[in-house]
């Protein structure tokens, strides 16, 4: 094993790339640690997996009862719509906004063990994906109970991959920026909450007056949630949903380079 720490300005880009590559190579290690994190949540509980998905189930049922009623929708229509929205939004926000603490929380490790920074992001992402798997299972059970059918479309797989990639890229940026600027962490909690209400999760865009619809269309999460949710309901996402999510990913990739290349060396002093 050869370890070289070479400080030359020209190599900063290469070193950022090496961090990413080394981080990926450590897959077995972060995979093992993330699995263990999830098992830790089950510990000493009778219904472990159920509690992980419990928030999704209760929120979906509560919102379906109230808003389904307000909008005059029967439960077998309201539950799949609202539950899919909550699962999709939860997936996106856990991989992006909620990643704000990844580097800060790993501070102790970053200051004592020479691991690539992306390692901590992957550990977190694996954890979030496993939580999503629980939520998706809970969604399927709920839909089965209320509609006696499971309308999943095969398009779900590419749709989720694209949504996940776009979210992870921004989540990594957020984890770095949050370590440097401590306001960001607090701010994101409220941004996430605001977006939960501004994104059509438990309401439909068509319920709004046309002028307001136009404003809501500026919210990028509208497209990402749509892309992740529609295949869960057996519908096909629109071209706009694919396109905007792909654009979010592309802009995110450029932003990662702009942020990570200069931040990589300094992160250890920020956390």
């Amino acid at each position: 094993m050869t370890l070289t720490a070479n400080a030359s300005a020209a190599g900063e880009f290469g070193k950022a790339m090496r961090d990413i590559r080394d981080g990926l190579r450590l897959g077995p290690v972060w995979g093992y640690l993330a699995l263990r994190d999830i098992r830790g949540r089950y510990r000493r509980t009778l219904l472990g997996p159920f509690w992980i998905a419990g928030g999704t189930i209760t929120t979906a049922l509560g919102l379906a009862l109230v808003f389904g009623g307000l909008f005059g929708q029967p439960l077998e229509l309201a539950v799949p719509y609202i539950a899919s929205g909550i699962v999709a939004f939860g997936f996106i926000s856990s991989l992006s906004f909620d990643a704000n603490g990844v580097m800060i929380n790993a501070g102790g490790s970053i200051r004592s063990i020479p691991l690539p920074h992306t390692f901590y992001m992957w550990r977190y992402v694996t954890n979030a994906v496993l939580v999503f798997a629980h939520n998706l299972a809970a969604f399927l059970v709920m839909v089965l109970i209320f509609t006696r059918a499971v309308p999943l479309s095969i398009v779900l797989i590419p749709a989720l991959l694209l949504v996940a990639a776009a979210s992870i890229v921004w989540g990594f940026v957020i984890s770095l920026v949050s370590a440097r600027f401590r306001d960001v962490q607090y701010m994101l909690t409220y941004v996430g909450l605001l977006l939960f209400f501004l994104t059509p999760i438990f309401w439909r865009l068509s319920d709004l007056p046309p002028a307001r619809q136009a404003v809501m269309r500026l919210n990028p999460l509208l497209y990402m949630v749509g892309l992740a949710r529609k295949p869960m309901l057996g519908e096909l996402p629109t071209a706009a949903e694919w396109g905007v999510t792909a654009a979010i990913l592309a802009v995110g990739l450029v932003t990662v380079l702009l942020v990570f290349v200069p931040a990589r060396r300094r992160l250890v002093f920020w956390v």
């Binding site: 370890l3 070289t4 720490a5 400080a7 200051r111 004592s112 020479p114």
Partner: protein
């Protein structure tokens, strides 16, 4: 990696400089960054909210197989910082560190303990975080448990352990990695009287097995007994580098004489 290369363990530091910026809480906020940008980044920097620390200045040395380097210096002279640069945790601002061989640093080994899990689980995690292959770690578990002498507690969560038991477990894990290059911030010892002799024997084995040792310590005895080379740091610069005994024999130049043990020996 060729077999021939693997046999030549080396650790080279060439002209290492390390500067870093310490942010106060104020400087770590967005408002300050915005104000800074608006006023050209001068105003608040001058108000010492943001302090640039020159932690290491032009440190160079070359260690070959068999070398044991002791690092001495006052608190804040850069000993731990230098160890962290050698371990790859900090990246030097200028200069380079090259290590041929597996490096393991016993800096803050206890970090990452999960008090809700048992000893076996914790051993696996501590090993995984240090990139010890899981299979090798599994094969080490019986020996670690045996040495830490936890008995049936090995299967109970760490929060039920006494302070001494936790310390013994950590020590046993920390001394089970056997790297080519071992980086030590102070000698590892552990706890209660009965364990001390056993611990120092095991520590001796690890140190003897390592091909290169870098040991930062305040103890002159420790360094005289274990090291063949000495590096003395003063405010981040090397004020002495060479054989151990000459430094203790000759009264050191002015800046180091404040080191109490050194003065006593001289």
């Amino acid at each position: 990696m060729g077999v021939t290369e693997a046999s030549a363990v080396r650790l080279t530091a060439s002209n290492i400089h390390l500067d870093f910026t310490v942010y106060s809480l104020r400087a770590q906020s967005i408002r300050t960054a915005v104000v800074n940008a608006a006023v050209g980044g001068r105003l608040l920097k001058d108000r010492s909210d943001q302090v640039t620390v020159r932690a290491l200045k032009d440190v160079s040395f070359e260690l070959r197989e068999g070398d044991r380097l002791g690092i001495m210096g006052h608190n804040g002279s850069g000993k731990t910082t230098l160890l962290k640069v050698l371990a790859g945790i900090y990246e030097p601002t200028h200069g380079r560190v090259q290590a041929h061989g597996t490096v393991s640093s016993l800096i803050d080994i206890g970090h990452g303990l999960d008090t809700e899990s048992n000893a076996i689980d914790n051993i696996r995690v501590l090993g995984a975080m240090r990139l010890i292959p899981i299979r090798r770690m599994n094969s080490l578990i019986p020996e670690i448990l045996d040495f830490a002498d936890l008995g049936p507690y090995a299967y109970l969560p760490l929060k039920t352990y006494s302070a001494g038991m936790q310390l013994r477990l950590l020590f046993a894990v920390a001394t089970s990695f056997y790297p080519d290059i071992l980086i030590l911030d102070e000698w590892l010892g552990a706890g209660d009287a009965g364990f001390v002799a056993k611990a120092s024997m095991r520590m001796r084995q690890v140190v003897d097995a390592a091909k290169i040792i870098v040991l930062a310590s305040h103890s002159t005895d420790l360094i005289r007994n274990n090291c063949n080379k000495l590096l003395v740091l003063d405010h981040g610069s090397v004020s002495y580098l060479g054989e151990v005994e000459p430094w203790f024999a000759a009264p050191a130049p002015a800046p180091q004489t404040a080191e109490p043990q050194a003065a006593a020996v001289a």
